[in-house]
C-alpha cells in the first residue's frame, strides 16, 4: 500500500467514524462496513440509496441499517467478499492498533507485523487476505500474552461491557415511547406525522393537529416539586389518550407540550376533540394530597389543518401559533389556526 493509499484509507475511515457519530449509528462492524463503502464510493447504488435517505430526512434505524447491509453486502460474489473482508481487516487493524497502544511496551515485533500487513494490497484475493489477517492475529496474541494477565482480563471485560452498552444504546436510540408518560416520543411523532400526512396527500382526506400545553407548569414544579410535575404529565397523557379515537396519535412533543395527530378530521371536529380533552381534565382532576393544595390543572390547545403541498413544518408552526394565541387569550381554552403565523 502506497503512502497515498494509506492516507486515503485513513480519510475514508475518519469520515466513516464521523458519519456514524453524527447519525448516532451504533459502530457495529456491519454499520461500519456500510458507511465505509459509502465514503469509499465503491458502490454507486449504495451511495445513491443512502443519499436518497439523507435528502428525505429518513431515519437510519435498526431496520434501515439491516436492510442496507443485507441488500448490498450479502451477495456471495467473490469480489464483494474480498471487499467485505478488507473492510473487516481494517476494523481488526484499528482494534489491534488500539490494543498495542494500551499495552504500551513490547510492541516492536508487533509493529513489524503491522508493517507487513500495510505493505500488501487490500484488494488482493481473499486467500491472501486471510493469511495476512491470521498472521496479525497470531502476533497480537503473542503480544497480549506478554502483557499483564490483569490487563488482558480488563480488556475482555471492557469488550463485553462495550457490547452491552451498544445494545442498550440501540434500544434507546430506536425507542418510540416516552419513558415518563408512556405515549409516543418526539422522534416517533416526526416519523408518524410524515406517514399520515403522506397518506392524506394521496387520499385528499382532512388531517388535523393539536398542540396541548399545560398552563403554568413551571409553577407546579416550583411549588410541589418535579415528582409532582411528573405525576401531572402522566395524568394529562392518560386523559388525552382516553379522550381521542383509536386512529388518533398522541405524542409527548417536548417538556409539558403534547401533540395529537387526527386523521380524517376537519377543523370543526378537531376543535371538538380539543374541547373534549380540556373538559375531561376539568371533570376528572388529579387527586393529590398536597400542601399547599394544588389548584386544578388546565391546558391551552392550538389546532390547525394540514394543507397538502405546504411544508409539514409550516403546519406544525401554525398549530403552535394557535396554541400561543390560546395562551395569550387567557389560557384554559382552545384556539383554531386563523393564519396568525
Amino acid at each position: 500500500m502506497s503512502t497515498e493509499e494509506v492516507v486515503k484509507a485513513r480519510s475514508i475511515a475518519d469520515a466513516t467514524v464521523a458519519t456514524l457519530r453524527s447519525f448516532e449509528i451504533p459502530a457495529t462492524p456491519a454499520n461500519y462496513a456500510i458507511w465505509y463503502e459509502y465514503h469509499a464510493g465503491l458502490s454507486p447504488n449504495l451511495q445513491k440509496t443512502i443519499d436518497v435517505m439523507i435528502s428525505n430526512d429518513a431515519r437510519f434505524d435498526e431496520t434501515a441499517l439491516q436492510d442496507l447491509y443485507s441488500l448490498f453486502f450479502s451477495s456471495a460474489k467473490e469480489a464483494q467478499a474480498v471487499r467485505h473482508t478488507s473492510l473487516l481487516a481494517l476494523d481488526t487493524l484499528q482494534e489491534i492498533v488500539g490494543l498495542a497502544d494500551g499495552a504500551g511496551a513490547d510492541a516492536h515485533q508487533f509493529g513489524a507485523a503491522l508493517k507487513g500487513f500495510a505493505s500488501k494490497d487490500l484488494g488482493q484475493s481473499l486467500d491472501n487476505l486471510k493469511g495476512l489477517i491470521e498472521n496479525l492475529v497470531v502476533e497480537s496474541k503473542k503480544m497480549a500474552g506478554r502483557s499483564e494477565y490483569v490487563g488482558l482480563r480488563m480488556r475482555e471485560s471492557a469488550d463485553k461491557i462495550e457490547a452491552l452498552e451498544r445494545n442498550l444504546e440501540s434500544a434507546i436510540r430506536d425507542s418510540t415511547i416516552d419513558a415518563l408518560t408512556g405515549v409516543a416520543n418526539r422522534k416517533s411523532f416526526e416519523t408518524v406525522i410524515r406517514k399520515i400526512a403522506g397518506d392524506a396527500m394521496n387520499s385528499g382526506d382532512d388531517l388535523s393537529l393539536l398542540m396541548i400545553d399545560i398552563d403554568h407548569f413551571k409553577r407546579v414544579n416550583d411549588t410541589w416539586g418535579h415528582q409532582t410535575g411528573d405525576t401531572v404529565l402522566r395524568h394529562l397523557a392518560q386523559t388525552v389518550q382516553q379522550a381521542v379515537r383509536g386512529g388518533d396519535h398522541v405524542a409527548r412533543y417536548g417538556g409539558e407540550e403534547f401533540a395529537v395527530i387526527l386523521p380524517r378530521t376537519d377543523a370543526r371536529s378537531a376543535v371538538n376533540v380539543a374541547e373534549n380533552i380540556r373538559k375531561a381534565l376539568a371533570r376528572e382532576p388529579l387527586q393529590l394530597d398536597l400542601n399547599p393544595p394544588m389548584t386544578p390543572i388546565t391546558v391551552s390547545i392550538g389546532a390547525a389543518c394540514y394543507e397538502p403541498g405546504d411544508p409539514l413544518a409550516d403546519w406544525v408552526g401554525r398549530t403552535d401559533a394557535a396554541l400561543y394565541h390560546a395562551k395569550n387569550e387567557g389560557r384554559n381554552r382552545v384556539e383554531l389556526d386563523r393564519g396568525w403565523n
Binding site: N45, K48, T49, V52, M53, S55, N56, A58, T63, A64, D67, L68, L71, F72, R194, K195, A197, G198, D199, A200, M201, N202, S203, G204, P308, G309, D310, P311, L312
Partner: protein
C-alpha cells in the same frame, strides 16, 4: 435559492445561451404519473410555477402510451397504482425506444430501503418521499442532472 437553481438547471439545456429570450426556450415537459388526483393537482401547481409544461397520467399504462406519443423530459412517478405500477412502468420505459431520455423521480409514500434500492437499480434518477411540498420537490429537481 433552490427554486432559482432548479429553474436554471432545467431551463438552460435546450434553450441554448443565457441570453435566449423566453419564446426561444422550449418548455420542459413533465409527466406526472400518479393515481391520486390531489397529488397530481399539487404537483402540477408547483411544476407549472417552476416553468414546466405539465401532463398527467393516472397509472403506468397511460404514462407509457403518452411517452410513445411524446417523450417527456421528466417523469414524477408514484409507486402504487392500478393497472401498471410505477416500477413496472419504469422497467418498460427504460427498455423502450428513447426511454432513457426522461429523468425519472419516484414520488411515493414507500420509505423503506428496499423500495429505494429497487427504484435506483431499475433506473430511477431520484426518489422523493410523500408528502412533498414546493420546497422538497424544488430541492429534488435542483439535485438531479437532466439526462437530455
Amino acid at each position: 435559492m433552490q427554486k432559482m437553481r432548479a429553474e436554471t438547471v432545467w431551463n438552460s439545456i435546450e434553450g441554448g445561451t443565457s441570453e435566449s429570450v423566453v419564446s426561444n426556450v422550449i418548455p420542459r415537459l413533465c409527466l406526472i404519473t400518479d393515481d391520486s388526483a390531489p397529488v397530481r393537482r399539487i404537483a402540477r401547481k408547483i411544476l407549472t410555477g417552476l416553468g414546466f409544461e405539465v401532463d398527467e397520467a393516472e397509472h403506468g399504462q397511460v404514462a407509457l402510451d403518452k411517452c410513445q406519443v411524446r417523450m417527456p423530459n421528466m417523469i414524477l412517478l408514484d409507486w402504487n397504482m392500478p393497472v401498471m405500477d410505477g416500477l413496472e412502468f419504469l422497467v418498460a420505459l427504460r427498455h423502450s425506444e428513447g426511454g432513457k431520455v426522461p429523468t425519472v423521480i419516484f414520488c411515493t409514500t414507500e420509505t423503506d430501503v428496499e423500495h429505494i434500492q429497487k427504484a435506483i437499480e431499475c433506473g430511477a434518477d431520484d426518489y422523493l418521499m410523500k408528502p412533498f411540498d414546493r420546497e422538497t420537490l424544488t430541492a429534488t429537481l435542483a439535485g438531479v442532472t437532466p439526462r437530455a
